[in-house]
């Protein structure tokens, strides 16, 4: 079954540390996205990708990097984590716009 899988499901990180969130999709979709969800803000786009090797800045890219080494994998990297990056992070993939599929989310706590 086609799916978007995120890991880890939960993460506690220390301020200043490096955090990598991983996303794998078996949908064979070209487009992948990273969002964060905070109360009162809905989902906000951090980075996205049109395909292997490409990354694009979304609406709130500061403090984040992204990597798309293959069609299936898209990572979000926090080089120097800060408490303001405590959030729930969602990865999604899409081929055509009608098949936007989300992962189950990663809860990140930066202390």
């Amino acid at each position: 079954e086609a799916a978007v899988t995120q890991s880890p499901r939960n993460k506690v990180a220390v301020t200043g540390g490096k955090v990598t969130l991983s996303c794998n999709q078996t949908n064979n979709h070209n487009n992948m996205y990273w969002y964060r969800q905070d109360t009162g803000h809905g989902l906000r786009l951090i980075h996205y990708s049109y395909g292997a090797g490409s990354t694009e800045k979304g609406d709130i890219p500061d403090g984040y990097k992204a990597s798309r080494p293959s069609q299936e994998n898209f990572s979000l990297i926090l080089e120097l984590a800060t408490p303001s990056q405590t959030s729930v992070y969602f990865c999604a993939s899409a081929g055509t716009h009608s098949d936007y599929t989300f992962g189950s989310g990663t809860r990140l706590l930066v202390i």
Partner: protein
């Protein structure tokens, strides 16, 4: 301001009643998607519309690209309809969508 204005922010319904959620767009919108987020946090794609209306069971959505709004009608609400509903607008600038802030729906007996 935000590209997508979603209302109401919260809604309570009794089982069997009906209501509508709305999203207004402040810029040209090529398409809209509607999602439901359940209590576990999972986001489920309900509808994608580039124009017109779509219906799926007790849910019906409409999109008016000229008047810049979309609606999601819930008919005969059931307990399992509870959750947070998001609309997401696709602009003209590429393959990304902008989400509204969501409507928290609680259906009670």
């Amino acid at each position: 301001g935000d590209q997508v204005e979603q209302s109401p922010s919260a809604l309570s319904l009794h089982e069997g009643t009906s209501s509508a959620l709305r999203c207004n767009f402040t810029t040209t919108t090529r398409s809209v998607q509607w999602f439901r987020q359940n209590s576990r946090g999972s986001l489920i794609n309900l509808f994608y519309l580039a124009s017109g209306t779509k219906e799926n069971g007790r849910l019906k959505s409409a999109f008016d690209s000229k008047e810049l709004y979309s609606t999601l009608h819930i008919r005969d609400a059931q307990l399992e309809d509870s959750g947070t509903y998001f609309c997401a607008a696709e602009g003209t600038g590429g393959y990304k969508v902008v989400f509204g802030s969501g409507t928290r729906l609680l259906v009670s007996p």
